[in-house]
């Protein structure tokens, strides 16, 4: 069978055995029941087992910093006296346990999903989850236990979810394959954070690959080779070895300052989503947190976190970073990250809609709570505030005024905070780019959010397969925007960072160095390799590469050119090493 192709989302070579993980409800054939009491015992045993497994998973989620409350809600649902009564009625009416469970769950699913209320509608998905899980227990369908996988497992899923990641037996996973998800999807971010090679968006992978089949996965090129012959195996075993050696070379940069070949200092920071990610930041040796996404505090739950809960999370990160910079991005809600309990309306075009700072300024109580929590945390470390999706100076000024008011409030209450807290702008819209000079006069720093900036400049949805090819940071329009933003910041004398995926793109690093980017905020796992790449760059060479790249007219030409330059640089680097 020929190679399958997807999006290479997490670099590395994995060689292992395919294991599919599917979450569809299992099928069953209803059967006649003679002994109602025995059938009831069978159902009770399955429900008891369900409670036990769910409680364990909830505990695991708590430990990883996620919220186990939703899973505990599932336990309360199966314990519900009304639900139990309905089950009993079904059993007494002659249904088998599977049928009783399905009938009662389906009843609640139809009631909840028919409700005229978003929160109630969502509960239908919870009941559906419960139904699938308990049916599997009743039928003895072995669901794959993600916590105890065989060695060298190549996990094949439709899409990798945060709850799967929480349960994942990392040391035994050789690679991850998915049918859905792009380079910037959750699946991609999660697999890179776990340092597991991953190929995403492989069309029809679940039917094309069989359980137990040996495959080679190349997370860089996005290739998957089923049933490899000995030669191919040898070739990729060698490549895997090289990658491991490269990782070992990067280890040499641990604890070293980030600087170019000429000794020009730069900074490598990390992007995080939860306080639990701090372990990865410290393990990756990043010098600060360039983007602390706060949405994750608001997701997967049923009500907004209060000030104390937010303060706890922010303080935890501020303390753990011990005086190193922590840039907290205020709630970036909306777009693809709708949070149902905030009562946001469904929008025709969410990416051009009511989101991020627009929403927060219109819901001041919510925003005040978050800003107060960040201010309180600023007493415990080096904390900065970053505003997402700014398009106008007035937005920055309004946030500044709000922070000023809250500082006065805290002062009156004798609560400690940083009087000089820095407030910066995430530059991710064409509008912000074009008025970067105006924003720079009132901002303490810039951080370029290349993921959304690329999408907005190219007017292309990264997740849409038909136009995804347009979504590329190598397009001259995007490169010019980046150059302009950095130049504007430098002219105003404020620092400029980058917190999108592009900051870790080794082919782009010479360009970013030439433009004068000071801070590269990357996935924690990429911090050391980014520092190693920066160390290879000399000002003279970067200038030449940038001049060459900016003369090119298409994204394809730019990408090929930068790749060629990176290969040459790497070859030179190895040459120098062997002479030592």
């Amino acid at each position: 069978m020929s190679a399958l192709r997807g999006i290479g989302a997490s670099a590395g070579v994995g060689i292992g055995v395919v294991l599919k993980y599917e979450d569809a409800p299992p099928t069953y054939t209803p059967h006649a029941v003679e002994d109602v009491v025995a059938e009831r015992q069978r159902l009770d045993a399955a429900l008891a087992r369900f409670r036990e497994e769910t409680e364990q998973l909830a505990k695991r989620m708590d430990e990883t910093g996620a919220d186990g409350a939703i899973l505990r809600g599932h336990i309360a649902m199966v314990d519900d006296p009304f639900l139990r009564e309905q089950l009993q009625n079904e059993l007494e009416g002659g249904s088998c346990a599977e049928q009783a469970l399905a009938t009662v769950c389906d009843l609640f699913i139809s009631i909840f999903s028919g409700a005229d209320d978003e929160l109630t509608k969502q509960r239908a998905a919870d009941v559906a989850d419960i139904k699938t899980h308990v049916l599997k227990l009743l039928l003895g369908v072995k669901s794959v236990d993600l916590k105890a996988l065989p060695e060298n497992t190549v996990l094949l899923v439709e899409e990798l979810t945060p709850s799967m990641t929480a349960a994942l037996d990392r040391p035994h996973v050789a690679a991850i394959l998915t049918e859905k998800g792009g380079k910037t999807s959750h699946s991609a971010i999660l697999s890179r954070a776990l340092k597991i090679p991953a190929v995403l968006s492989i069309p029809g992978a679940l039917s094309a690959l069989e359980n137990g089949e040996t495959v080679i996965v190349d997370g860089e090129t996005g290739e998957v080779f089923p049933a490899p012959d000995a030669a191919l195996r040898a070739q990729y075993t060698e490549k895997r070895q090289q990658l491991r050696e490269k990782a070992a070379r990067e280890e040499a940069f641990r604890g070293k300052p980030t600087q170019t070949a000429d000794g020009d200092p730069r900074k490598v920071y990390a992007n995080i989503g939860t306080p639990a990610d701090i372990d990865a930041v410290l393990a990756g040796d990043a010098e600060g947190v360039g983007l602390f996404r706060t949405e994750f505090l608001f997701l997967d739950r049923t009500a907004a976190p209060d000030e104390d809960e937010q303060f706890d999370a922010y303080q935890k990160v501020a303390l753990a970073m011990r005086g190193k910079e922590v840039i907290i991005r205020t709630l970036d809600v909306g777009g693809d990250k709708a949070i149902p309990y905030l009562g946001m309306k469904r929008e025709e075009n969410p990416f051009l809609g009511f989101r991020a700072v627009r929403y927060c300024l219109a819901h001041e109580a919510l925003y005040r709570t978050q800003l107060r929590a960040i201010l309180r945390a600023s007493a415990f470390g080096n904390v900065c505030i970053m505003i997402p999706l700014v398009t106008s100076l007035s937005e920055l000024l309004r946030v500044r005024a709000l922070v000023g008011e809250l500082q006065a409030e805290l002062r009156a209450e004798n609560v400690a905070f940083d009087e000089n807290i820095r407030i910066g702008v995430m530059i991710e819209t064409p509008a912000a780019c074009l008025i970067a000079d105006l924003l720079a006069k009132h901002a303490d720093f810039f951080s370029i959010g290349t993921n959304d900036l690329t999408g907005y400049i190219m007017a292309a949805d990264r997740g849409n397969a038909d136009v995804g090819y347009l979504y590329t940071v190598y397009h001259p329009a995007v490169l010019r925007a980046i150059q302009h933003i950095i130049a504007s910041a430098r002219q105003a004398g404020i620092p400029c960072g980058m917190c999108g995926e592009a900051a870790a793109d080794e082919t782009l690093i010479p360009l970013l160095v030439a433009f004068g980017l000071e801070e590269f905020s990357v996935n924690p796992a990429s911090a050391l390799s980014t520092r190693a790449r920066i160390a290879e760059q000399s000002a003279a060479r970067c200038k030449l590469i940038a001049a060459g790249a900016l003369q090119l007219t298409t994204a394809e030409e730019v990408e090929q050119y930068l790749r060629r330059e990176a290969r040459q640089n790497r070859a030179c680097g190895r040459g120098v090493k062997s002479e030592e």
Binding site: I70, G73, A76, D117, T120
Partner: protein, 87 residues
């Protein structure tokens, strides 16, 4: 039988988390506890019934308790709802 009218005052109404806590507490009483809302009688000991009832912030509900510990159950229910269901 005792009863009292109360207004739900927490922002999200009886959603998953408060409903779970509330139904759990009501389950500790021997008396039947019913929430009358929009002409429906909702079993207050059942999380699923409460969720299905879509009781939102600002809705007035009538709490009805009937049984040996009805006054204690009513006091507890009213106190929990008035305190914003722990939110």
């Amino acid at each position: 039988m005792v009863s009292k009218k109360v207004t739900v005052c927490n922002a999200q109404g009886f959603h998953m988390r408060p409903a779970t806590v509330f139904a759990g507490e009501m389950g500790k009483f021997q008396s039947d506890v019913t929430l009358e809302h929009n002409g429906n009688a909702v079993n207050a000991k059942s999380l699923m019934n409460i969720i299905a009832a879509c009781i939102k912030c600002g809705h007035e509900i009538n709490v009805v308790c009937n049984g040996p510990d009805e006054q204690a159950a009513l006091d507890k229910a009213v106190a929990m709802i008035e305190a914003g269901l722990g939110e």
